[in-house]
């Protein structure tokens, strides 16, 4: 439970990053002429769409992780003996990826950022504008769903985290916690986003980066520590 709370907190901190990127969309979604309740409904639908996409991505990532771990060809793991080697490798790769993405939040690894953001996102973003101005009541849901698929290092980081849990359900829960964490800020978008000075928003982004860095280190540690402990226990001359 604590684990998911940490992720929720990370999502909350990360939502200051969301304000910068997706907040504009939420603002553009605007007010409904039907009154405050209708406006709230509109934003709830939008966020429900977004959350669904996140959860789905989490479940798929978790399921992929599970597939990688359970379908490993080696019946007896060479390196780690009775321990689950594939899961550890997954944890190491996932941890490293998360650390790399966390560093982006501190303005490092800019080239990596170009790779993660520039991946086919522009056409999608352009087409999304069509939906913003639509009168339809269902448009916010559709918009939220597509928005969830927009390239975003934050989402990638937590999807990697979800994959490293190596299970569809825990993966789903990771992304659910993260998505719920981004809820408050995105719901309050109009108010919070405007009130916060850019300095504070930057601090929020750093905070989110720190959380992801922490989670990445923990994930990496989960993979490396038992492995290295085991390697030390092995007689000398083990492959490596």
């Amino acid at each position: 439970m604590t684990y998911y709370l940490v992720i929720f907190a990370a999502g909350f901190a990360g939502s200051f990053h969301c304000i910068g990127m997706c907040g504009g969309f939420a603002c553009a979604l605007g007010r409904d002429p039907g009154g405050a309740a209708a406006t709230a409904g509109r934003h709830l639908l939008y966020n429900a769409g977004r959350l669904t996409t996140y959860c789905f991505l989490g479940a798929v990532a978790g399921a992929l992780g599970e597939m990688l771990c359970t379908s490993r060809g080696l019946a007896v793991p060479v390196l780690t003996g009775p321990l689950d080697g594939a899961q550890q490798i997954l944890a190491i790769v996932g941890g490293l990826l998360m650390i790399a993405m966390a560093l982006q939040f501190f303005g490092l690894l800019q080239r990596f950022q170009a790779v993660t953001i520039g991946f086919g996102g522009s056409t999608l973003a352009v087409s999304l504008r069509n939906l913003l101005t639509s009168e339809s009541r269902a448009a916010p849901v559709a918009f939220g769903v597509f928005n969830g698929f927009l390239p975003c290092p934050l989402v990638y980081a937590f999807a990697v985290q979800a994959a490293s849990t190596a299970g569809a359900v825990p993966g789903f829960l990771v992304m659910l916690s993260f998505g719920l964490g981004t809820f408050p800020a995105m719901l309050m978008m109009g108010g919070v986003g405007r009130m916060l000075a850019p300095v504070w928003r930057q601090r929020g982004v750093w905070l989110a980066g720190s959380f992801i860095l922490l989670l990445g280190l923990i994930t990496l540690g989960r993979g490396v520590l038992p492995l290295s402990a085991h390697l030390h226990a092995l007689p000398q001359g083990s492959p490596g």
Binding site: L132, T133, S136, F143, V145, V169, F172
Partner: protein, 727 residues
């Protein structure tokens, strides 16, 4: 343009075929070849004020929302999250049903509509397979929900539809990316030109432009009409007309060709003809026609697809029946569903048209017109290329190659002859005057010039009578030939040269030999073809010595001369027995029937209109050097089609086997199908990265930056011709 709407998909520019979808986007009627193109086009071009485009996205988004929720809930069910509270499960099934029904309607409607239209026309297509499989899974799940059994498959039904939709969208986006190069080739007449009238600039469609209109062309734009520059200075690139990509300087008074690209400065052009009569417009019409035709391979593939669908349905039913003996019906049904989904032969239908479109577009951008997609496939298989001589391998214009005289300097001979011949319009006369001016000679002033048709020309220079013409003219004048020249004249005529006798003061004093010389690029072009493993032959209507000389000069060993058009056809038939597929290259003046008779008739730019009609591939003027490159492109297109087909069929067969054995989940099967079409698109896209033809690599003397007429004309000094050896 209605023609376009009828034939080619608005999005990916492939032929629409039988399964057109009509939609109105941005107030224009558009046709699409598939649902994916319909989505992708509206995502890309739909304006936000257009209800249709937004509505499509909303539907997809809501469909995705429902599908993902169904998937998540089902996932929790499979993971046994609710196993402690078993009473909940029927209610969850009900919830899934409530979610799945609108998702099915939203996502499945286009597939249902398409299959319905096809079934009304008596055809079953691959979308019917999707509809059948998905509705079976849905119907079973509804019963299962009502019966309160353990398993429902709403997730499979909706997810398969979602994956098919996404797959076709991605595929269509990839195809459109591939076809981006084709777009300017189809737009010649529907494009707008900026017309300047009375100081104001108005955009008007090119096809409405008449001669004498002033058109403004900004840098980066394509010149819409043939005309003359009135104002401005710039460089243009005429690659699409001449095949050669280089910058040509233009200033006030320079002619410009429609289709060339204005590179640096704005130009004001006065059109010299109608916008729809330019070669550029003809190229575009020809490309459009070629694209909308279907090649043989494609027709076979389509037929295979059409025949296979009922078999697949049968196989699906048999699979269900077989597996239902050994396992529960719902499991068996799922395996049958996987069979239906994975057997969808979507990729097979895509194997050829994309590759041929890219190939045709690639060639058209260098000015080479392909009349039919089939041409490329046949040309790739050709093992023999037969050439016509005159006007194809040679310039078709006589050139001075040698001067023999009796004690007179060559320069004097040439100056005297040019003084006389410059009064004539004859082709031989032109060769003489050009040779003289190339040497910087001043023609001797000649008066009282009279031309005798069929004989030659006579006049007076420095008070002396002078005559140039054939031996008959000299006999008539009674002028004697020196004995040393008699022998030379005989040997020149025997070797197929045209000989001009030049005499003054009552004696024949010099012989001028003229010949039709091979093009500068011919030799390296032939070598290029031979290095591609092609056998090259020369079929000439000319005399044997002349043909032999040309053959030797360009490096052809297999030659047949003095052939009538009928004899050429017979020779081609003999070649066909030995080599299978043969191609013929000619200018079409007297070989139009031969071009029509060859498996691939290739006409070179200067060809007459008749030859263009009978040839299936037309090269631009002076574009012979591109021939090896064209063969390479054709071979690449064919190998791409074949690998595509092998991949599509192989993939389907393997996946089908796995599915029938129950080793493939339906959702996974749908994902595999989507990626299969995508792989074909990526494989075909490699064609658009084919290198441009490089003239330098093929022409041994690198091409000068002068116009064709100069390059091919009389730049070579007299006496340096390959043919005549003195004495």
């Amino acid at each position: 343009m209605t023609e376009r709407d009828d034939n080619l998909c608005s999005h990916c520019l492939l032929p629409i075929g039988l399964r057109a979808m009509q939609r109105t986007v941005n107030g224009e009627d558009c046709s699409f070849c598939c649902y994916g193109c319909c989505i992708a086009f509206q995502v890309k071009h739909g304006r936000s004020e257009e209800w249709e485009a937004a509505w499509l996205l909303i539907r997809l988004g809501v469909g995705a929302f429902l599908t993902m929720n169904i998937m998540l809930i089902s996932l929790l069910l499979y993971a046994g999250t609710f196993s402690a509270d078993a009473w909940l499960i029927p209610w969850i099934h009900l919830l899934l049903w409530i979610f799945a029904t609108p998702a099915l309607v939203i996502l499945g409607e286009p597939y249902l509509r398409e299959s319905w239209v096809q079934i009304l026309q008596g055809r079953v297509t691959s979308s019917a397979l999707v509809v059948l499989g998905v509705s079976a899974a849905y119907a079973y799940s509804v019963f299962a929900t009502i019966e309160q059994s353990e398993q429902v498959y709403f997730d499979t039904a909706t997810m398969v539809l979602m994956l098919f939709t996404i797959g076709s969208y991605i595929e269509a986006a990839g195809r459109a990316k591939a076809a981006r190069d084709l777009e300017p080739l189809l737009a010649a007449e529907s494009e707008c030109a900026t017309v300047v009238e009375g100081g104001t600039e108005t955009p008007r469609p090119v096809r409405e432009l008449a001669a004498g209109v002033l058109v403004r062309v900004r840098p980066g734009e394509r010149v819409p009409v043939d005309g003359v520059v009135v104002e401005g200075e710039s460089h243009t690139d005429e690659a699409v007309i001449t095949g050669e990509s280089r910058q040509i300087g233009k200033c006030s008074g320079s002619p410009v060709i429609a289709g060339s690209i204005n590179l640096d400065g704005p130009l004001l052009i006065k059109s010299s003809g109608a916008g729809s009569a330019t070669r550029w417009a003809k190229i575009c019409r020809s490309v459009r026609e070629a694209l909308s035709r279907r090649s043989v391979i494609q027709r076979v593939a389509d037929r295979v697809v059409g025949v296979s669908v009922p078999f697949v349905v049968l196989l699906g039913v048999l699979t269900v029946v077989y597996w239902s003996h050994s396992m529960q019906f719902d499991r068996a049904m799922l395996i049958g569903l996987a069979v239906l989904v994975v057997a969808c032969p979507c990729a097979v239908g895509l194997a050829a048209p994309l590759a041929t479109s890219l190939g045709i577009g690639r060639l058209a951008r260098c000015g080479c017109l392909v009349r039919d997609p089939h041409t490329l496939e046949v040309l790739a298989r050709a093992r023999l290329l037969a050439f016509d001589k005159t006007g194809t391998l040679t310039s078709g214009r006589p050139r001075l190659v040698g001067i023999e005289s009796e004690g007179v300097a060559t320069n004097e001979v040439l100056a005297r002859c040019a003084g006389l011949e410059r009064h004539s319009e004859h082709g031989l006369a032109r060769a003489i005057t050009l040779a003289a001016s190339a040497r910087g000679l001043k023609p001797v002033v000649t008066c009282d010039v009279r031309a005798t048709p069929g004989r030659g020309i006579t006049g007076n220079a420095d008070g002396q009578p002078i005559a140039a013409g054939n031996s008959a003219l000299m006999r008539e004048l009674g002028w004697q030939l020196a004995p040393s020249l008699i022998e030379l004249a005989r040997s020149m005529e025997a070797s197929g040269h045209t000989v001009i006798y030049l005499g003054w003061e009552g004696r024949v004093r010099a012989l001028l030999a003229l010949d039709d010389t091979p093009l500068a690029e011919a030799r390296s072009m032939i070598a290029g073809l031979q290095s591609l493993g092609l056998h090259v032959a020369l079929l000439s209507g000319d005399l044997a010595p002349a043909a032999r000389r040309t053959a030797a000069a360009v490096g052809i060993e297999d030659l047949q001369a003095a052939l009538s058009p009928e004899a050429k056809r017979a020779a081609l038939d003999r070649f066909r027995q030995g080599y299978g597929v043969v191609a013929m290259v000619g200018d079409g003046l007297n070989d139009a029937p031969v071009l029509a008779d060859a498996d691939v008739g290739i006409a070179v730019g200067s060809a007459t209109d008749l030859a263009r009609e009978t040839a299936s591939l037309v090269l631009p003027t002076g574009g012979l050097w591109m021939l090896p490159w064209i063969i390479t492109v054709a071979r690449r297109v064919r190998s791409t089609i074949l690998t595509n087909l092998a991949w599509a069929f192989g993939y389907n067969l393997i996946a089908l086997t796995l599915a029938a054995l129950g080793l493939l989940q339906p959702v996974l099967a749908a994902a595999i199908m989507a990626s299969s079409s995508l792989l074909l698109v990526v494989n075909s896209l490699r064609l658009s990265r084919l290198p441009d033809p490089i003239p330098g690599a093929i022409l041994e003397p690198p091409p000068s930056a002068e116009p064709d007429s100069v390059r091919r004309g009389l730049g070579v000094p007299v006496m340096a011709g390959p043919a005549i050896e003195r004495g």
